[in-house]
Every structure is written in C-alpha cells, then in structure tokens.
C-alpha cells in the first residue's frame, strides 16, 4: 500500500513537473460551450472554409517542400467510358467510380506520407551529422540515434510496400467493376482496351523506386 501511494505520488510529481516546465495552466480537453463559441468565432473569420466544403484543398501545405496529393494524369492514360446521364448504368458506374476514387486518394496519401517521412529523415540525419561534432552529445551517441532513425525509415519502406500492394489491388478491383459495367452497358473488353493502360500508369506512379 505504501509503495502504491509512493508510486502515485511520484507520477503526480512527474505530471506537475511537466506542467510547470511548459507553464500550461489549462489544456482544455473537456468540451465546453465557451471554448466552442471561441472556435465558432475564429472559423467565422476563415474565408472560404464553408464554401470549400470543409476540404483542405485550398489550404496551402504547412511546409514549402511538403508533399500534397496530385491527382492529375496525362491525357494518354485517361480512360474512355459510355454511360448516358440519368440512365440505368449510372448506378453501376457510380459505385465503381466511388471505389476507384477511394483508392486513388489512399495511394496519393500513402505516397505523401512516404515522401514527407523521407524528407524528415534526410533532414534529421543531415542536421545530426552536422551538429554532432559541436553538440554536447558525443559522436557515438549520435551514431546510435542515427541508426534508430534509419531503422525507422527502413521499417516505413516495408510498410509502404505492403500498403501499396493492398491499395493497388483495390484499385484493380474497382476497375474490374467498371469492366463489368462496360460489358453490361457499353463496350466489351473495356479493361483490356482502356482500363489496363490507366492501371499500369498508376502502378508505376506509386511504386517505390528507392
């Protein structure tokens, strides 16, 4: 019991020490109407936030070198399709389209996570290499830290490759749904004629090449 009290006391001490270091009086994690009113007021001053549908598209990336999703494709890889507006085929195409766009979005985000982490790692290693000679931290200690950073990045590469396969397979499945729609309502062999080129382009575009 005594040890438990001591342990809790120590934890409270650590918490108090951290709070003192930061000087944080109140980290308002509770929902309060006053806080909401403040946020309502702030958001009211942000132009286009509602008209933009709450999407971050018009907001600039925080860092100048930060990756932002780019969905533009060359006209050569664009696909053809046939489905008149207001016709029955629309349901079929809409479902396939939503799935395809989901995987386009995930692939773009995955790529950005990778590129940003690569930038972070490169920047951190360069900074550490430059500073280790003059910083209090010894060169040996930095080498250990450096190895951890690099190991973490290597781990990310494996994760990227796994997710890449999942998302690419998802993209192909959605294109095959399109193929089914086209076979039913439009041109036969759509995937071989049109979808295949787009799929190959996307496969190459998001394949890790380092």
């Amino acid at each position: 019991m005594k040890y438990l009290i001591l342990h809790i006391g120590f934890l409270l001490f650590c918490y108090a020490a951290n709070a003192q270091r930061a000087g944080v009086v109140q980290n308002a994690a509770e929902a309060s109407e006053a806080a909401n009113a403040i946020i309502d007021g702030i958001l009211g001053t942000v132009p286009g936030i509602i008209s933009g549908g709450n999407a971050a598209g018009d907001f600039p990336p925080l860092s100048a070198g930060e990756c932002a999703p780019d969905f533009n494709e060359s006209s050569n890889s664009r696909m053809s399709y046939q489905c008149a507006p207001e016709s029955e085929c629309q349901n079929c195409f809409t479902n396939a389209n939503d799935k395809m766009n989901f995987f386009r979005r995930q692939l773009a985000r995955l790529n950005c996570i990778y590129q940003n982490t690569k930038n972070f790692t490169t920047s951190a290693v360069a900074f550490g290499d430059g500073a280790s000679g003059v910083h209090a931290m010894t060169a040996i200690a930095w080498q250990r830290e450096r190895a951890k950073i690099n190991a973490s990045f290597q781990n990310l590469k494996k994760t990227y490759d796994t997710r890449y396969i999942e998302f690419i397979q998802g993209l192909k499945a959605s294109l095959m749904e399109f193929d089914g729609c086209e076979n039913r309502y439009g041109q036969g062999d759509w995937y071989q004629k049109s979808g295949f080129i787009y799929f190959e382009m996307m496969k190459e575009r998001y394949k890790r090449n380092d």
Binding site: A22, L43, I50, G57, C112, I113, G186
Partner: protein
Amino acid sequence: MKLIQILLITFFCTCNVMAQPFTLNKNVKPVLLNLIPYTAKDTILNGKKNTTDVVQVEDTSYYYVKGLSIYQPVVLNISSTDVNNKMIIQIAKDNWKTPDKIGSLNSKGIWQATFKTEGSFGIQVIAPKKTIKYKIVVWVGNEPKKINMPSPFKEATAAPSKAPAAPKTPPKTRTTSKSKSKKQ
C-alpha cells in the same frame, strides 16, 4: 468494412513515424495538444479542437499536434489579451531549428494560420519577457468523404462492341468527361 480497416492501418502507420519536429536537445519536451471532438452549429465545420490557456514562465515553450491527415484543414489561432505581448510564434514541421512559419501577434493580439499537413506539426512560443499569458486554439476539420479530384476519363472514341449482356436501358448518347466528373 475492409476500407475502414485499411484506413485504420494507414492511420496507425503514420502516427509512429514522426510525432514532432526533430531536435538533438534533450531539454526540449513538447507538450501534446490533445484533439477532442468538436461539434459546430454548421455540421460542415465539425472536426476536432484543442483550446489551451498558457501562463509561460520560461523563455521558450514547445507544443505539438499529431494525428493529422493531408486532407484535413487546420486552423491555428494564438491570442493574448496583452496587446503589447511581443512573443514570437514559430511553426515547424521537420525540425525546430527550421520553422516553416514565423509570426507575432497583430495589433488586436491575434496570430492565425491556416494550412494542411500530414502527421503532426510543432508550435514554438518564444517569450520576450519572463511571464506571458496566451491562448492556443487548434481546429482540425473532419476529412471530407469526397474530395475534388480530376476525372481520369475521357470521351469514348470507339463504337461500342458486342456486349455480353444486353443493357436494360441502352445509353442514347455518349457522355463526356465533363458529365462524369460531376459525380466526383
């Protein structure tokens, strides 16, 4: 369901990669600004928030926000009732030493930034005098279910070939990429 699993896996992968800007200084111990759900009057502004009141007694304070997606809009607002407060605000992505945004309070005692970023970002507040008081407000919008992206389709150029199954309602006209893109 599988889509949700994929989203969750991606999210967890991101969180462990880089939680805060890099530093070799072991004395830099940033405070995490926890995001909690925020329900707005206009549902389009629903998202997450953090409001933190600070009395800073040290030269420099460090904070960070994590768990962000590049598809979420972020509004960061720092304000003080002391309009003579000359504190310097630095926002950093990769390294505390190389801030991506630097600012100070305006004549109304407010500094605000809007941006999008993946993962996390750090906030550094440098005080010109011993004790300063200020409020940090972070709002992060929900990731929209659909985002605007260009259509990967163009107008069909070949005549329809033999379809395996006859369409119930044959398309009367060919559509253009413009009409398709409306759905996105």
